[in-house]
Symmetry: C3
Subunit: 265 residues, 3 copies
Amino acid sequence: MSDVPASRVGWPDPRVVEALERVRAGKPLTYGLTNYIAAPLSANMLLAVGASPAIGGIPLGAAHFATIAGGAWINLAALISDTPELLLETARAANAASTPWVLDPVTVGAGIEATDALAAQLIDLGPAVVRGNASEVVALAGGDGATKGVDSTVSSEAAIPFAKSLAQRTGGVVAVSGPTDYLTDGVELVAVPGGHPYLTQVTGAGCSLGGLVAAFAAVVPDRLQAATAAHAVLATAAERAASRTRGTGSFAVALVDELSLLGVA
Amino acid sequence: MSDVPASRVGWPDPRVVEALERVRAGKPLTYGLTNYIAAPLSANMLLAVGASPAIGGIPLGAAHFATIAGGAWINLAALISDTPELLLETARAANAASTPWVLDPVTVGAGIEATDALAAQLIDLGPAVVRGNASEVVALAGGDGATKGVDSTVSSEAAIPFAKSLAQRTGGVVAVSGPTDYLTDGVELVAVPGGHPYLTQVTGAGCSLGGLVAAFAAVVPDRLQAATAAHAVLATAAERAASRTRGTGSFAVALVDELSLLGVA
Amino acid sequence: MSDVPASRVGWPDPRVVEALERVRAGKPLTYGLTNYIAAPLSANMLLAVGASPAIGGIPLGAAHFATIAGGAWINLAALISDTPELLLETARAANAASTPWVLDPVTVGAGIEATDALAAQLIDLGPAVVRGNASEVVALAGGDGATKGVDSTVSSEAAIPFAKSLAQRTGGVVAVSGPTDYLTDGVELVAVPGGHPYLTQVTGAGCSLGGLVAAFAAVVPDRLQAATAAHAVLATAAERAASRTRGTGSFAVALVDELSLLGVA
């Protein structure tokens, strides 16, 4: 994979602009099982791009939501509120309804056996997109990711071959977040430059990307293009937000502002 | 109902101003079972008007909190963290202690049978106020609400006759949120104009209104007046916030600012 | 205790500055069981001072996180999501791994027997630091705290003798938050002046302090010094934030900004 030159994609690439227009026009119901630390920001970021988020695992309703949604995402840190069974049931319901779903493997490789085992089961269910940091993707692909709590200890570039191998296994797309994001369907490699280090200092900004990818996948059939557009939109909003703020608190606010204005104002 | 002309109420109607003054003076303990997406903003909005919020279902403590609180609210999306039994137990404890409580029927009519069944049980317990969007109120009243996830697909005006019928059934007030909010006790109809479309693009802003109504109901005995004042206060704060912000992120921040300053500065 | 004059400590006391530098350099993994109302702000405040937060009770992973973390905190309002057993198991795992942990006794003394009983068990496990408001500390020490929901009804000064007695019992530090914060190891008494009343009007600001103390305790061996530095850092950031904002919404944002800039810019 490292011998395949990555194409670089960012705003205002016409495919990215068009993908965002589709989200704003389609207002896709985007259903997420995620954690309560990231949930408020994730919902606000989804609303800012025009999607219609619904978050949280109602035991008797999760499968229903995964069925009626345009896209879904499952963040492993949902385990702080939801059972492993609910995550699996939601993924299966999404598959049965052909709802594209995103797996965000938070804390995989951090040393929790039960989480790693659940992640392996979810991978077997074929997520349309896996989105994680480098450590998590390496760990998912069977390498030594050495996740530190919820943070990565591996560079995005080092994770590329693992991402390729994982994408070939799932038949979907794998996205690695980092200073430059890399996305691959197992063959093609795309690089999304930009973003800002502050994204790693705002809780839930990375987790929210799982939701954005799900929203874009709801309206853009090509999974690599959908995931790439979501990453490019966030990277651009982050750059613009950082340029007019002086700390991580106002950056988080400006990030939502810029997402709500991108391609509109 | 549609033949009863609605009286229009907004800030600085003296009854609204006085109601807010009572909240600031009384600092009512306001207890909520709500969802973790809306909870932080709900708590901050309650603190901003001077109330003392406590949120979340401690299994052995929810009934106690409903008993000692001045007002309570139950948001059906609490089911992502709490059991149906806890919601029912909390409503019964509130009734036993004569604590006015608000039902926010999030996702009613979205197709989840268990949620719809629980909502019907809660309606039978006689909430002081039901506050929802048009789809939810229509669905609760037995019409075809066709809720899309958590969003409404029906206009507020179309929901008015359903709101009236529902209020007559509960013996309380029913409030329908929309571009213009409508509130009724089954006889009188009040319209609260204003607000801002951004309110629908900030997660939890609608849910927070359930908490505000509970806080106002804790200190204003007339339920229609309490609910109306809460809606008018939020609508006014939203207008002021929108006038000085440029995106949905800073709008959410300014909304809390304006609530904290209304009638004070 | 009231006959021991308190030493006053604040920014830029060299011990406080050095403690913050250690957090920024060490990026300690700081693990928290807290409530979903406070969790997003707590995580953002920890990220702002350079720590690496992980929050939430994964049933099969909490003990693991407490073991690998540099510091941990347990907030009793975690009971809205987690079981009493998980809190106890986490505290025991932290003890076994010599991970210093902080107990935040939210709602102790508010009249919930189960919560009070759990708090007593946790106290017996010897938290490195107990951090609460005056009512909670008084109630924990066996006095009549009369907590109103989650708010204090007792002055910080009145809580000092109770804090001293509690510290002697736990063998750790007890910190009482208020207009002036007081901290004691049972012998020495430290006062941290400053802060701002807005801290009590932003949900989770107090709860976040439990996380900050855990992060500082991860890198500063002297517990009293660690806890004092965390309090002084928050008090200073709060003062700076209040000086450039006009409501509680923008104050919360500026608070994170100032934490992220303190000692850096």
